[in-house]
Symmetry: C2
Subunit: 247 residues, 2 copies
């Protein structure tokens, strides 16, 4: 987290200038990168990158995106959710391994791929930050492999909610996890039931039913399809399979 004076105006006013890869750059580095950047807006449902194409490189300034892989017969698996401050795209690789869609209105801060790679070669902090993102993505992907390969439907739903909780805690960043163990959390679900199903390897019907079961168990409240209140994080963690139920 650098706090210089002469940062570019676009960056000074940017909601994520102290988050994501930009947080690791000095003023002059930020200027250099800013001169290469171009903002672009996308509409909900718009496809930003096609699997197999060269794809876009840039920061997510605002909005929600999904990365998904598709089978020949149309089955889909969402492999990643992207939010504000996440980095989109794989510099170094010339082939996107998933299709990227905007779920909400999305604002990106994009770069020309070659220019970005040249800049990254000059700015150790930038390339380190990008690679750190890739490493974090890998850890998340493996966490999800455990979910998809081993967890039952209700555990998958609980794990998904837990991930949203953790994300919110990381963003607000004011407390640590244990302090909030007993606080009620009201969550905005950023994606549809269909997208949740494709993310968790389930069907929309099962997603709906398991949300209901978690409600009946008293773990959550469902205000509407997009708004969930978590009553007890420990019980949500138990439902997610993170603690052995010695029942």
């Amino acid at each position: 987290m650098k706090t210089p004076k002469d940062i570019p105006e676009a960056c000074a006013n940017c909601g994520i200038r102290n988050r994501g890869v930009c947080a690791h750059l000095y003023a002059e580095e930020l200027s250099k990168l800013d001169s290469l950047s171009r903002r672009r807006r996308y509409r909900p449902g718009e496809t930003i990158v096609m699997e197999g194409s060269r794809g876009v490189v840039g920061n997510v300034i605002d909005g929600t995106l999904v990365e998904r892989k598709t089978m020949a017969d149309g089955r889909e698996q969402i492999v990643s959710l992207l939010f504000s401050a996440d980095f989109l795209g794989t510099p170094l690789s010339n082939q996107a391994d998933a299709t990227v869609d905007a779920v909400s209105d999305v604002m990106l801060c994009t770069f020309d791929r070659d220019q970005f790679e040249a800049a990254a070669a000059d700015l150790p902090g930038l390339s380190a930050a990008v690679h750190e993102q890739a490493r974090a993505e890998l850890a998340l992907a493996r966490e999800w492999m455990l979910l998809l390969g081993q967890k039952r439907a209700i555990e998958r739903i609980a794990t998904f909610l837990l991930r949203l909780v953790n994300r919110r805690l990381n963003v607000t960043c004011l407390h640590n996890f244990d302090d909030l163990m007993d606080d009620a959390q009201t969550l905005m679900i950023p994606i549809s039931r269909r997208q949740i199903a494709d993310f968790l390897g389930l069907t929309t019907e099962t997603v709906s039913r398991k949300f209901g079961e978690l409600r009946d168990l008293g773990v959550i409240d469902i205000a509407d399809a997009r708004h969930i209140t978590v009553h007890s994080l420990p019980r949500l963690r138990a439902a997610a399979g993170f603690v052995d139920e010695l029942a």
Copy 2:
């Protein structure tokens, strides 16, 4: 692929000196790295890294390893297979996201973590190679998310076999994929039925049954549990769900 003269003796005799991260290093870089390296042998079943620990950094010279994640109640998911020339461990991260076990006799070329990271900071080719490995791992993990979330049991088995075929083609590296589409391939299965099950999110019984089904379909022959002959790659690809069956 550099071909210098004054490479360290250990590297000159190393089976993977022209593969993995070492392939991208000049003689003097190789020397520098070699001076930091230490060979270590592991026995089948031995645990090399525990999930959550700092872990080992190094090259796999020879042998087969699995990376796995475990749930509180003992359920396991294998998230990666490592073979000769693969890179083990996550420099930059101080927490291994999975447990690593030797499946066969394993020889590693390990490095002190801090020294390796310092070396990587000096050698752009090295850090690029390590990051490229991480990127490739991410692509594989996402491929597996699609498998675990969407594919049925027989497709998972077929995909697994296809991955072994592809690996063999990459290693032998003499032909391209299409040239071998119709060739019979005899594969050595490097892991047990239980490990296959944990890799594919199935049970050993289902793995056994689906191998039998692929045999009955005439796609493969089963010499014994560890040796499979692939009769038709196109049909294996179809069984794996990579082509839409317009039946």
